[in-house]
């Protein structure tokens, strides 16, 4: 098996060499410019991240996709715990009466609740299994857990000494969505939901902002997804919250993606569930609460921020496998020697906490290159006979395709630095794209013209929800947020012309 021509890997893959390949290698990927939606689905399939399931709107997260989620979980979990948050687990089912206690909340979720009404199956006359054992009170499969968790908080909290409570839950969530799309909008998804209770509004507010900042750090420093922090409008905020804070990202097709939200719940739920405490003066007070969540939809954001027409691109800090080493050999003698070198380099990389895979399958290198390219491994290292002669390796960046030769001595450190650089470059590239796609509009006409370019539009909007609704109905663009730390600027609402004190970011969104 001879193939050391790296620039043109042999595409004439014989049956023999397909061993170990999966379907991903046999598919082609639609170009973004041709059909962005299809490209997104193709990437998921080519990188083997997820598959449709026979249950309407539910996907299967395949091992490659789940490994990304595991890395996200591990990273976020550590960040949460450093701030004093602890994990717990609450029931999947919520009695309808609980969900109904906070009026806005139940209105917000009523149209998308999976409802359990029976607790067993029995055979009907035709021998078919049908539901039986009707429940006295139907149970809703959690669309979010404020109600069930705060019923417990009410039981646990007596005194100011019991506060703050800082709890997080990793769980599955069900929202009966009519139009679904893998990762971005599925009927069942995985998430974490944080829930806290405090003695004062100030402390709760600070916590809501602290968790939003953790989401920002996670999105930017790990996922390399630049985001804009801001406040949601009254109509876009979480059902039952006082304020919803959000991080908003911009995808390559110019649509926005809400990537994480943190809610100041005020005392709304505390009053509905009786979450009360005795303060230091012995007076009964309602607790101040927050909740905050990030979901598997972020994997959709990850795909749509970095990937290209060749496949998935993963930022090194979130890639389950960071390096793939591909030994290239012409003779068995070469093979032994090269594998030894690959093993030794892998060991050095592992000592630097870098995750490495050696792809030693009995296949030509070409198909291997394609496979790992599609799967988004940040750096491919090739070691062939010529490299051995020169005592060097070849490193190929997934994001740019750039090839670098490095001496074997010091190669591990070189690769570590390269991974850092890729991480930085990906964020920089995405930030440039995002910044280039924030435009201002000073009239509704201008707004509508700009909208076709995609991206965020910064425009004045008054506080009348009717103006917001008009934009949404006529253009499908929604307010994403009022960004934090915006300069105050007087202007006129692009819809009604009334006075507005600041600009709001609009976009079409996922």
């Amino acid at each position: 098996m001879i193939n050391i021509n790296r620039d043109k890997p042999d595409q004439n893959i014989t049956k023999k060499f397909t061993q170990g390949d999966n379907d991903a290698n046999k598919q082609s990927i639609t170009k973004r410019s041709e059909n962005y939606s299809q490209w997104f689905l193709d990437i998921i399939s080519a990188a083997d991240l997820a598959d449709n399931s026979p249950v309407r709107g539910c996907m299967v997260i395949k091992p490659n996709g789940y490994a990304i989620w595991e890395k996200m979980q591990m990273t976020l979990d550590k960040m949460f715990k450093k701030t004093g948050v602890v994990n717990a687990y609450f029931p999947l089912f919520i009695p309808i009466s609980f969900l109904s206690k906070e009026a806005e909340h139940v209105e917000g979720f009523a149209t998308e609740c999976a409802v359990v009404t029976h607790h067993r199956l029995e055979k009907n006359k035709n021998g078919k299994m049908v539901p039986a054992g009707e429940l006295g009170e139907p149970l809703v499969v959690r669309p979010t857990s404020e109600t069930i968790i705060y019923a417990m908080f009410a039981k646990w909290i007596n005194s100011y000494r019991d506060l703050p409570i800082l709890i997080n839950q990793w769980a599955n969530i069900v929202r009966w969505e009519m139009r679904t799309k893998p990762f971005l909008r599925t009927m069942e998804f995985l998430w974490q939901e944080g829930h806290t209770a405090h003695t004062t509004r100030e402390e709760a507010h600070a916590r809501a902002l602290q968790m939003l900042e953790i989401y920002r750090i996670f999105a930017e420093e790990y996922m390399a997804i630049p985001i804009i922090k801001g406040t949601k409008s009254e109509s876009e905020k979480f059902a039952g919250a006082v304020n919803t804070y959000t991080i908003e990202a911009l995808m390559q097709d110019g649509k926005a993606l809400q990537s994480g939200t943190s809610h100041l719940l005020g005392q709304n739920f505390a009053k509905a569930f009786g979450v009360k405490f005795l303060d230091q003066n012995g007076h009964e007070q309602y607790a101040w609460q927050t909740s905050w969540g990030m979901t598997t939809r972020m994997i959709g954001g990850l795909i749509m921020t970095h990937s290209d027409d060749k496949g998935l691109v993963l930022p090194p800090r979130i890639a389950p496998i960071q390096i793939v080493i591909i030994p290239i050999w012409a003779s068995e003698k070469d093979h032994q020697e090269i594998i030894q070198t690959a093993n030794s380099l892998a060991k050095q990389l592992q000592d630097l906490d870098i995750t490495v895979k050696i792809d030693d399958r009995d296949m030509r290198p070409g198909p291997k290159f394609y496979e790992w390219e599609k799967k988004g491994i940040p750096v491919r290292i090739e070691i062939g006979p010529k490299d051995m002669e020169k005592q060097s390796i070849l490193a190929v960046r997934r994001d740019t395709g750039e090839k670098q030769s490095a001496t074997l001595i010091g190669a591990a450190e070189h690769i570590r630095d390269l991974l850092d650089k890729i991480q930085k470059d990906l964020l920089e590239k995405a930030t440039k794209f995002r910044d280039k796609n924030i435009r201002t509009a000073d009239s509704y006409e201008e707004f509508k013209n700009i909208l076709e370019k995609g991206g965020f539009i910064s425009a004045h909007l008054c506080l009348n929800p009717k103006c917001e609704t008009k934009v949404k109905e006529e253009t499908k663009a929604t307010t994403r947020c009022t960004p934090f730390n915006q300069k105050e600027e007087l202007g006129k609402c692009i819809i009604c012309g009334k006075e507005s004190k600041q600009r709001v970011l609009f976009a079409r969104s996922y």
Copy 2:
């Protein structure tokens, strides 16, 4: 605040000193000898592991309990991955038609299925939220995931080259149990379920046994729970399996606990779901499958194996906090110095991968001792002014109450060795108890007499399921397993007197 009398910690806790205490400190624990069931519930409450929820049969796993589960997960997950298993995630909902495809399987779970029949809520005439949007086909909340996972396997597997598939899922499971008990039997529980597919029966069989062995190692070496490996009877095996292998533990009240099972599914599900592959000769074959699971009920087993009348006892390898350091000071000057010493010791312990908590709350030491005792921290370290003088520490074992003085120099290594010893001693103690409680019976009379002592009974039983049923109905004892590696021994069935080739283990069980 002066309290360095360690043998009699001051029990006269004034209001001031209760700061930071939780309810756990105020409850007393029922003695095992008085009411074992109540003792179990008291331990859960005293160690703050879980709480009842307002949803029938569902518990809330509180942070202390969930931290144990996280450690169990992390340990098992690593062990699985070392054998090539990867994680994935499959839908929560299973269409009834899927569950019905394997006849025995659906019969086995029909009586305990939560069924989703509607997908939204709407207000009725009285303004009450009621289920609406009836589904064409009702969905069952997974009681286990063989059917939905194997429907996917059928899609993914084409050729022998796609095998083996080795997948695990960490998930929540719902089984509508009528009588529930925290951790041991709850309507919703957490677990992992492994699912594999292979080209041959031999390979599948070897995998089922390999995973059972992992469960044994985990139970014995981490949870310090001695177990007996064996095969389930026809009537006790998993619905749809060819063989169910089990690890059975013995609780302190003499009842058995099924602690993990691994099933050889043969081709039963493969045939029901069309999990087929082309073998090396181009012939179509059904895959051979296994599934295996371990659940949060193991936390119940952990409690009932080691805990005592003072509270929870945790084996060091599974304890989220392994060491608590309690500084004891009489003056502020002492305090500073002691805290410095505590911090430095904590650092040294952390460097040895030991999890440490310094309890520096402004409380008397007595209540602290009680609190950590109840919560099962394996070793408490006390550092007081006299220890500082002698440059030593006092280490107190949770399991035996034994106190050891150790010089500050080398204290960390001493503690590490002590933790190892505690781990070993706990397993040894539980093994002795277990072995003392395996008795043989050679007649049904003898069987019934011995049964009142609790523990396992080894007795001959023929293969006629009627004999097994008779024992179950008359004594509530069930067959736990036919142990592996038992000597062959001819005998007579204690019920019908017919020939039996080996003894079976019976017990009353959770």
